[in-house]
């Protein structure tokens, strides 16, 4: 198996990739503006939904339930979809999926395809695979058109071109659509895209889509969108190929009532997005007469195997965690080196890659927890991040690494009250050469990484517990205990423990 997630295996570490982006003032301004707008819209529509937390609870439970019976629900979907005239294909990895889709397009004699935005196709590098086979892929979502014509990369799960402003979009459209007089009003730019794509919608005979939801009970597929480019791709071509991760399944038709309330509010801050399409197999005389679904694993079963991070697969790709993340809001999506960016990208990408690549991503977070707060299916992203950091450290670090040794020592100290109290007393002595006017500004060795960017208060003369104990004995303020004795006791304790 060759699992690939866009070009993440060759990407620089997050920390390296982020540096030049942080110096791009225009990009940061564009990302800040876009995420501010979506967040405030989301806040309003979530505030107007009195049962929001109940919907989150139900959404999370439905997804967790489905994952526990994933094999059964996938088989149920396959049966229902096939009975309705669709054809289901299974792809173990990115290459499998690309081979299947390229083969299908060739089988129907297609030389071009129209695509509604699909994250999964970016994950497997479908456009490149089609290009290799001489098949031209036209992206049709406005933001994807901007990214594709600009030779750029997507930087947001829902709004891939958030990093571009109107004048940058105008520049791309002027050059690539041959419209030298195009203005920079978003309305005019949108009209240019409408005109540019209309001819393709009416002409191209093969459509490619992703899937927001697959309904096991009925074999139906659901696409949630705004522009109508999705409906065009799903309805006008004669052949439709939909690619979906195996985790996109939900058990029953009525489960949609939960997700169609959670997703639009979280993704674009709308009570409902302009268009949701659901279809089941092939309908005589209405829409494509040939329908194929490609079910993709590409590392997902590996995530399923880890009970502590399985919740990652509950994601419905709304992007709310990106908009609220203090790290994403500074760097934008390109620093994550993958089509999946932001907090969810930081847990999805390295896990799909079986923790062999993209190992810097679990560290691209402050663990502030904002992503968990907004997640419509309650994925505890900080918990998963910490779990993955542990996996990276365990797999990467040798036992003699200074940081690993320091952590082991710290663990010994923090697990015993006597050792901890002794360490506090020792710290008071050890700190004196580094303290000036109550602050430590320049710690030596590894600890210097901390004081390089922030100052540290000196340790207080006495802890609360010491003060409390002494107060109970004497009823007055006591002085500090003997530091030398404390130091010896601590050294002995740590020795014993190791």
């Amino acid at each position: 198996m060759t699992i690939r997630v866009s070009e993440a295996e060759h990407a620089q570490s997050f920390q390296k990739a982020a540096l030049p982006l942080l110096e791009d003032a225009q990009l940061r301004k564009n990302v800040r503006h876009a995420t501010d707008v979506i967040q405030s819209k989301r806040g309003i529509v979530v505030g107007g939904t009195p049962d929001w937390q109940d919907l989150r609870t139900a959404g999370s439970a439905i997804k967790a339930h489905t994952l526990r019976y994933l094999d059964q629900y996938l088989l149920q979907f396959e049966k229902a979809c096939t009975a309705a005239g669709g054809q289901v294909h299974w792809a173990g990895d990115a290459d499998d999926a690309n081979r299947i889709i390229v083969g299908l397009v060739q089988q129907y004699g297609g030389t071009e395809v129209i695509k509604i935005k699909t994250m999964t196709s970016e994950e497997i590098g479908l456009n490149e695979a089609l290009d290799h086979a001489g098949i031209r892929a036209h992206e049709t979502d406005l933001a994807e058109v901007i990214v594709q014509l600009g030779g750029d990369k997507s930087s947001h799960i829902v709004a891939p071109a958030v990093h571009k402003n109107r004048s940058q979009v105008r520049q791309i459209f002027r050059e690539r659509m041959n419209l030298p007089d195009l203005g920079d009003d978003p309305e005019e730019l949108t009209a240019a895209a409408r005109h540019y794509l209309r001819e393709k919608f009416l002409r191209v005979k093969v459509g490619v889509s992703g899937a927001n939801f697959l309904v096991a009970e009925t074999g139906s597929v659901c696409i949630v969108e705004s522009e109508g480019n999705g409906r065009m791709c799903l309805t006008l071509p004669n052949v439709l190929i939909s690619i979906a991760g195996i985790e996109k399944i939900i058990p029953r038709f009525e489960d949609m009532e939960v997700f169609l309330q959670l997703l639009p509010r979280s993704a674009t801050g709308e009570r409902m997005n302009p268009y949701n399409s659901l279809w089941t197999g092939v309908r005589n005389g209405d829409g494509p007469q040939h329908f194929h679904v490609v079910l993709l694993d590409n590392g997902r079963t590996g995530i399923l195997a880890d009970p502590e991070s399985r919740q990652t697969l509950q994601c419905i790709r709304c992007g709310a965690c990106l908009n609220t993340c203090p790290v994403y809001r500074q760097t934008g999506g390109h620093a994550y080196g993958s089509s999946y960016s932001g907090p969810i990208g930081a847990i999805v990408t390295p896990q799909l890659l079986q923790m062999r690549q993209a190992q810097s991503l679990p560290f691209a977070s402050t663990l502030c927890g904002a992503c968990y707060e907004v997640c419509p299916v309650k994925i505890n992203i900080p918990e998963v991040l910490i779990h993955l950091r542990g996996r990276v450290v365990r797999e990467q670090k040798s036992a003699l690494d200074p940081e690993a040794l320091a952590m082991k020592t710290a663990a010994a100290i923090f697990t015993s009250r006597t050792r901890f109290e002794a360490a506090q007393r020792l710290g008071r002595i050890a700190q004196w050469p580094m303290v000036s006017h109550g602050w430590m500004r320049n710690l030596p060795g590894l600890l210097g990484n901390w004081t390089r960017v922030r100052d540290l208060r000196e340790l207080p003369k006495q802890t609360f517990r010491e003060w409390w104990k002494a107060r109970a004995k004497t009823g007055s303020m006591p002085g500090p205990s003997t530091p030398l004795r404390a130091a010896r006791k601590l050294a002995q304790d740590v020795n014993d423990h190791a």
Partner: protein, 215 residues
Amino acid sequence: MPDARAAILDRIRASLSADPSAPPAPPADYAAIPRSYIRAGRLTPEARLDLFLDRLRDYDTHVVETNADSLRQTIAVILQEHNQKKVIAADSLPPELLPRDFAFIPEHAVGLDDLNACDGVVTVCAVAIAFTGSIVLTHGPGEGARRLTLVPDRHLCVVRAEQVVETVPEAFDRLLPHATHPLTFISGPSATADIEMTRIRGVHGPRFLDVVLVR
């Protein structure tokens, strides 16, 4: 690719077998999913329709209220106001909807290119949702095939008061018998916010949506 299918199913089963919390059959476990969200609406019929109209307007839908007696006249006025000449009527549309002195083009007579050259289309819907300002098409009689309400620039949809439910779950209850039909949920005209998060009405779907509510 039968090998990939077996391999994926094997991997799933191996991943799940380590999990002792999963009981053997899904249905019982499914019934235990907490569903404390709001299912039934709480508004009076009048308030429900008012909410529906309010939510439609909020997302740029052009709304007209009428009654059964003046429905024909209302539709005629809207078509005239917007200078609609070539208008398609969905097949099996109830004849009492259509103004008599207007030459509608029947749906079955138009190909894709004709559709692209038309001004607008008239349909009914199956269900409408007040809380989200949505109309739902099951593409049954009078609702048109999917492309009919997609390619022309203007969509006029007639909604009867009794079709309007308050909540999304109520809509799904009504849609259940049509679960395997193609379904299209429409909430306002097509839109994008992909350039600087500025909401632009009308990208690829109809740029104008008229809802005529018969109450």
